[in-house]
Symmetry: C2
């Protein structure tokens, strides 16, 4: 099934909304409550019952949509990853078209993907499944897919030419740094330090990518 | 109390070993078992009882050394961080003294700090406490201290001159990238990709740090 635009909540929850729309809204509420729950209380405290209550949905309805806890949380992390990816692409249209300000804005945007509730939720999921041989392949598949999409977005936004030696690895390093910055932010607000690193990283990328692109 | 060199286990566990030495060996066994346990089964499954059994120590003795679960695991992550730090400093003596091979070896060594059981254990602890307001300050204090030491080591090994603009942030970015690479490795072996990124990042650092150092 291809991704559907999200129906506005007030119309979709009214008594006259078709059953299919109400079902979609219920599903979306569960997914959003699951992400918030994972980010706030962690994997151990995140159960289907807790998420259903937070979403204002009956436990039966929750289990209809997501038979297992793993179904719910994997789908939740994927759902928000897709939303964030779409948000990045639309925000990218507002960036300056050239120059060092553009590079810094792009790096900031990429780094922002790894801070906030989605990253916190995804991190809880990764760490929980890292010790679980059954669940790991599933989250790994999701993570690989999201990682590939993010890499493509980064290449496009930076105007990087991956046919030049080292450029692919430089873009990957940028995303690994972004992930590391996200991790540094989970215990305390690391925003001031992060802003300085983003600025310096943008300078490095400008030097690296332009020397490769125009040689 | 200043850090003590670790007494060899066979002598210290013999019946003739002084009580103080036996106590130190028991403590060390518990700390090492705690790190392995955290890395392998995660925070939820890591209790004092499980660690005591793994270490071959009675539960009473474990609780004598570490009254709470948090005492045990915070001490465990710190213990191994101190050991790793010492290992890095002694391994650093074997590095080539100059040239691009040195930079790549240094970057690899720094990145290695964020892979393996210690990083996995620390990650489990960070993520567990990120949703716990009481425990977070304690782990944050430990993490800040270990982070500062690692930064000083990186500056020294790279021969970076932080009085030049951007150099401090470049070293920080290197460690954030290393942390991100560690996180990328928790779901599957990311070694091949990581080696390519380390090589490229070493090239970038050589260009960045030499243009700053010799300008």
């Amino acid at each position: 099934m291809s991704p559907q635009p999200v129906a506005p909540a007030p119309a979709a929850t009214s008594a006259r909304a078709p059953k299919q729309d109400r079902s979609r809204v219920t599903r979306q509420r569960l997914l959003e409550a699951a992400v918030d729950c994972l980010a706030e209380v962690g994997w151990t405290g995140s159960t289907v019952a807790v998420v259903a209550e937070r979403a204002g949905v009956s436990r039966g309805a929750a289990q209809h949509h997501f038979p297992t806890r793993e179904d719910l949380f994997t789908a939740a992390v994927e759902h928000v990853a897709v939303q964030r990816h779409a948000a990045v692409q639309s925000a990218a249209a507002a960036l300056p078209s050239r120059g060092p300000n553009r590079t810094e804005a792009v790096v900031r945007m990429l780094v922002d993907l790894y801070t906030g509730p989605l990253f916190r939720a995804a991190l809880q999921l990764w760490v929980a499944v890292s010790t679980d041989d059954q669940l790991r392949p599933r989250v790994l598949e999701l993570e690989s897919r999201v990682g590939r999409e993010t890499h493509h977005t980064a290449v496009a936004l930076l105007g990087a030419d991956e046919s030049h030696p080292g450029v692919r690895e430089t873009v990957q390093a940028t995303l690994d740094m972004a992930r590391g910055l996200g991790l540094a932010d989970i215990l305390s607000d690391d925003g001031a330090r992060r802003a300085r690193i983003v600025r310096q990283w943008a300078r490095i990328l400008d030097a690296q990518l332009s020397s490769n692109s125009f040689e």
